[in-house]
């Protein structure tokens, strides 16, 4: 009997700090652990006692990559608690803001984080040396996303303009219209990204997932919808916690998730793509069909291609909004605090982000519940590594380690959101 140990002290190109431990005996995987040692940040705790109006600005601080998702989930949940409904002009602007976050987050992951794995390059720097034009395209696409965030949100990271009920002030309509040329270029660049991504050599791995995502009958679910499962059907946002349960595991400072039936499910681009293909913008559906990328897709590495298709969607939707939006009425309503409870989900770039708040009559938070996408995916990632392990046991140690890292990176995990590098340790006996 032989024993081998693989250890990576910090997995690069993910957000946050964690480690991977894999223990194998002969052909049997004995143990897989994603050790999330990033310190917990207790956001749910220190939101208690805060005024509802502070919540979107506080939750935005959970993540520098997807602050809009935290602002939108919190704003919508609080609006439900306060009995408010966003106006069409607010909803449209939120949709544009969210598309901008998808663009900057998806493009960062496609070009700089996951593509080097698939093209056999150690890093994006190496990819940039051999394919500078490709990386330049990615940088320009991402910059457009950041610019929209600045125009609408006041700055590109942790926007300050969104609030409960709407926006502190309407953005300048001319500045929105000025986005059109960049978005027109970006839409074509996003199509080219799909064509390029379709030719990348994806490792073969098919996994029978339970996919979970927001579903909206009239549009690709981002801002609202029902919680759809590929196994269990639909649930309202209010009923999320009756089926999707968080639990603690000793090796992780982030909670894991499972369904009430004990299934480890997947959220994120692949889940959305499989559940909501028909609701994609026609431009995104058309390019996906052109490259033969249609559901069902069960290869976790192809989340990159799903992100690329979603980037086309985001550019196309953003372009339509930028061409037509104009302010109507006040940018936010007058709000009278009341006791109440509200739950809402929105689709962060990495998947479903659920928030629930209970307010007292003064509008102070009595209870807060935040379920981020990466935390929901952690148990699923461990299962995937367990399924991958038999395929890599005969590989040289270094290559086996890299294959594990690639799989984790395909999820674009944001460990910071879930709690915050990754060490990989594989023990073979």
């Amino acid at each position: 009997m032989t024993q081998r140990t693989i250890q990576v002290d910090a997995l690069a190109r993910v957000e946050g700090e964690g480690a991977l431990y894999l223990k194998v005996q002969d052909d049997q995987v004995l143990e897989v652990r994603l050790d999330i040692y990033e310190p917990p940040r207790f956001f749910e705790g220190f939101l208690r006692g805060r005024h509802y109006e502070e919540v979107p600005d506080i939750t935005a601080r959970i993540c520098g990559i997807c602050p809009v998702a935290y602002q939108m989930s919190s704003a919508r949940a609080l609006e439900k608690a306060l009995g408010l409904q966003a106006t069409p002009a607010v909803r449209q602007l939120r949709h544009l803001l969210y598309c901008a976050e998808w663009i900057e987050s998806h493009v960062l992951h496609i070009y700089l984080l996951q593509a080097p794995d698939l093209t056999g390059h150690e890093s994006a720097l190496e990819l940039a040396r051999v394919a500078p034009d490709i990386v330049q395209r990615g940088l320009r696409m991402k910059r457009i996303g950041n610019h929209i965030l600045t125009v609408l949100g006041g700055r590109s990271v942790h926007p300050v303009n969104p609030t409960v009920g709407g926006f502190y002030r309407w953005p300048d309509e001319t500045a929105i219209r000025d986005l059109v040329p960049d978005l027109t270029w970006g839409l074509e660049a996003a199509r080219e990204t799909v064509r390029w991504a379709a030719e990348l050599p994806y490792p073969h791995l098919e996994i029978d997932y339970e996919f979970v995502a927001l579903h909206h009958p009239q549009e690709y679910g981002i801002l609202e919808g029902v919680i759809r499962s590929s196994v269990a059907g639909d649930l309202s946002e209010e009923d999320f916690e009756t089926r999707y349960l968080e639990y603690h595991v000793p090796h992780s400072n982030a909670l894991h998730s499972r369904t009430v039936d004990g299934n480890h499910y997947m959220v994120g681009p692949l889940a959305r793509f499989n559940l909501n293909f028909e609701q994609l913008h026609p431009a995104a559906r058309q390019i996906a069909e052109e490259v033969g990328f249609v559901p069902p897709i069960h290869n976790p590495y192809k989340a990159l291609l799903a992100r690329a298709v979603e980037t086309v969607h985001a550019y196309a939707v953003a372009l339509e909004i930028a061409q037509t939006w104009h302010p109507q009425g006040p940018s936010k309503p007058e709000i009278h605090p009341r006791a109440g409870e509200g739950a809402a989900g929105t689709e962060a770039p990495r998947g479903l982000l659920y928030h629930r708040y209970r307010l007292d009559a003064q509008g102070l938070v009595q209870e807060a519940r935040l379920v981020p996408p990466t935390a929901q995916n952690l148990a699923r990632m461990e299962d995937d590594l367990r399924l991958l392990a038999p395929h890599i046991l005969d590989l040289p140690l270094e290559e086996a380690t890299l294959r594990c890292e690639h799989l984790v990176r395909a999820y674009d995990p944001c460990i910071s959101c879930a709690t915050h590098f990754l060490r990989l340790e594989v023990e073979r006996t």
Binding site: V14, R41, G64, L125, V157, H158
Partner: protein
């Protein structure tokens, strides 16, 4: 000619905010210099690739940032950008994109960078989540602000 001063850091990660706070202190103590028409100031909490936008068109740039180093906490070091790779390990930047990697990517792609790019590094004691700086780093801020003042004065004298 534009002179750029960039404070980098996360205000909720303890001493990681050292760069932001040092630039703010310099702005308070030397408002005329900080508002000089040739000087552009950026406070960037999660700069990643957006750092390239902040540096665009600059003739000289100073990045003020917290650092992990084998040196006493609170010590202040002025370095050239060529020393940046030594500041990549243990990054807490978004998805591993530290300023060093961003600068390296720009160089690889042949994108224009300021002909003079310097780093003012303030050695940190503690990056744990916290809105406060450690005592050692807080005490170092006046020295860092003076160093920014001297650097900007030198660049302005070269105009």
């Amino acid at each position: 000619m534009t002179i750029v001063v960039c404070g980098l850091g996360q205000p909720l990660r303890g001493d990681d905010a050292a760069g932001l706070e040092a630039v703010r202190l310099w702005q308070q103590r030397y408002p005329a210099q900080a508002r000089h028409p040739a000087v552009r100031v950026h406070l960037l909490e999660a700069p990643e690739l957006a750092l390239l936008d902040a540096l665009q068109g600059a003739r000289a740039a100073l990045l003020v940032d917290a650092a992990q180093a084998q040196a006493p906490a609170g010590s202040v070091h002025c370095l050239t950008a060529e020393r940046l790779p030594s500041f990549t390990a243990g990054t807490t930047s978004a998805h591993g994109w530290s300023p060093a990697e961003t600068i390296a990517l720009a160089r690889t792609l042949g994108r224009p960078l300021p002909p003079r790019l310097d780093i003012l590094a303030i050695v940190a004691a503690d990056f744990s989540p916290s809105p406060s700086l450690s005592l050692a780093v807080r005490d170092a801020l006046p020295q860092a602000a003076e160093a920014i003042h001297r650097w900007v004065a030198q660049r302005l004298s070269e105009l």
